[in-house]
């Protein structure tokens, strides 16, 4: 057996995990390269953003969402003294390691949870003291996209997107259909193809897009996303990220995105909030984040 054949044979006999070793994500040693790539991406996104802001006037106006000194504990403390805000048209991405209470922040914004201390302000209104019925009204200002899309599996795609319209508007059936089609087209789905399908017939990415369309149906001022890109392939991740950016730019929607996907986060964020040890470890623009000397943040970015 020649050396060449021997090498080929060994390679074939190797365990798949060994075979993949060369393709594994590069770690700290080339985090510089990652940061450089992110910087280039940021510059491109910033240029596009500035151009659009000048053209449309979508900008950074008054504060729409404010979290003030929020503390929350169940059996153990979850959040301690967490504060940040989002101005009109901002996309704030909350990043952090798993289990640091990122999704809890969304539940606080929706008033599905009430903080032990601190205030949550939506459009200047403190929602922490609201009654259950008043909280339902505040939630109508918001669209939420869940990690698993949370589509109602007993309803078709059409009925899912139409649901908030039927619940809270007096639109006629024709108007509802027009709105559903518009929202499905906005998320790059063909209404004719998907409207009559059941959620179980859709792929993960399509479910997420229908979830976004349902969140958008009532034309909310605020969109909340819980891990919008988790469990998706890179191409679909890019599509969903693009959709969130498109929403911000075309509709001026204020968004809070909870994610552990730092690459997508950098593409879409106006501000990044890093949650570490139950507190906000960093709150600022992506540029400020890449420029920091904080060892934890550097390690956090390097991990990607």
């Amino acid at each position: 057996m020649s050396d060449e054949e021997d090498r080929r044979g060994k390679a074939e006999r190797r365990h798949p995990s060994e075979k993949d070793e060369t393709a594994m994500p590069r770690r700290a040693h080339d985090s510089g390269r990652v940061r450089a790539a992110i910087r280039t991406e940021l510059e491109e996104v910033a240029e596009e953003g500035a151009e659009l802001q000048a053209r449309t006037g979508v900008g950074h106006g008054e504060r729409v969402i404010t979290l003030e000194n929020i503390s929350l504990a169940f059996e153990d403390p979850i959040l301690e003294n967490v504060s940040f805000n989002a101005k009109s048209g901002d996309t704030v991405v909350v990043v952090g390691e798993s289990g640091t209470g990122k999704s809890t922040i969304l539940k606080l914004l929706l008033r599905l949870l009430i903080p032990d201390k601190g205030r949550v302000l939506i459009d200047g209104e403190d929602i922490t003291g609201l009654t259950f019925d008043d909280a339902l009204k505040v939630r109508q200002k918001m669209g939420m996209v869940f990690q698993g899309a949370a589509l109602f599996d007993s309803m078709t795609v059409y009925e899912n997107v139409a649901y908030p319209l039927r619940e809270h508007t007096l639109l006629s059936e024709d108007e509802i259909e027009a709105r559903v089609r518009e929202k499905l087209q906005f998320v790059d789905l063909e209404p004719e193809r998907v409207m009559d399908q059941m959620p179980s017939e859709l792929s993960g990415g399509m479910k997420k897009r229908v979830g976004i369309a349902r969140g958008l149906a009532n034309n909310p001022e605020i969109m909340l996303y819980d891990e919008p890109t988790s469990g998706l392939d890179p191409l679909t991740t890019a599509t969903i990220t693009y959709l969130i950016i498109k929403l911000q730019r075309e509709l001026g929607v204020t968004s809070i995105v909870v994610s552990h996907d730092i690459r997508s986060a950098f593409r879409m964020a106006s501000k990044i909030a890093l949650l570490a040890n139950r507190r906000i470890g960093f709150f600022g623009t992506p540029e400020e984040m890449t420029g920091t000397d904080d060892p934890y943040i550097r390690e956090f970015l390097g991990g990607f």
Binding site: K107, L110, L112, F132, L136, K137, R139, Q140, M142, M144, F146, Q147, G148, A150, L151, F152, D153, Y163, P164, E167, H168, R214, L224
Partner: protein
Amino acid sequence: MSDTLRSDYEATHLILESFNDAAKRGIYSLQEFFALAGKAIGFIFVKPFYTTDLFQQMDAIGVGSLGIVLLTGFFTGMVLALQSAVQLQTFGATDYIGSLIAGSMIRELGPVLAGLMVAGRVGSGIAAQLGSMRVTEQIDALNTLGTDPIKKLVTPRVLASLIMLPVLTVINDFVGILGGSIIAKFYLGKPASLYWRTVFEQMLAGGFTLHYIPNDFIQGLTKPFVFGGIISLVACYHGLKTTGGTEGVGNATTRTVVTASILILVVDYFLTQIILAVFPS
């Protein structure tokens, strides 16, 4: 304090503490259950009315359970007639078999059997459905879309059960008595006219309320109404409280069937006592 005394003291303290915790948890669960029941029943009278959901649930709970109720009712009536025939023959009282079957079916077996069947079939279904909705965040999605999940999911199920269980019980009673008539005719050789006459005599023998309503009917229809409430509320409670993924859904389903079945049997006893006191024969 000696070491033995200290360890005894600590052990007692630990036992008391765990007993205290369990009692607190129990009372808290009861409180949550009654809060859910109060809200669900209160929402029956508050707009918006989810009539489509109500009719869907009436179809699923009522029409969907028809087959199982027909089968159990029919065979229970037949076996009851068969067993009673042996006893009645001893006293030469086989003419009264219709009376015995009607009394047992309408007052007791009809409501309890329909209740147990529906608890198994519908209760488990409701718990599994709501449990799955909870673990896949669909309940949270309802909340965020500005809908009260209790109003949208629990109220239609409770109302549908309250309406459909008495209907199913009446059907169960009828096919049970019909099953008994077959045994009376072909096993005991009694004419159908005699059988049905004793059935009607039994229905009217328990006395009347408001001059026209036979007391047996009051007993036979109050029970399934209460059982319908128990089954749907227990199922919705366990479904909405589901945690821990698919395993949690399984646990919620099992707990629902066990709790609802036991409650039906226990409540049946107390309800019978109350009804007999309020509407004496």
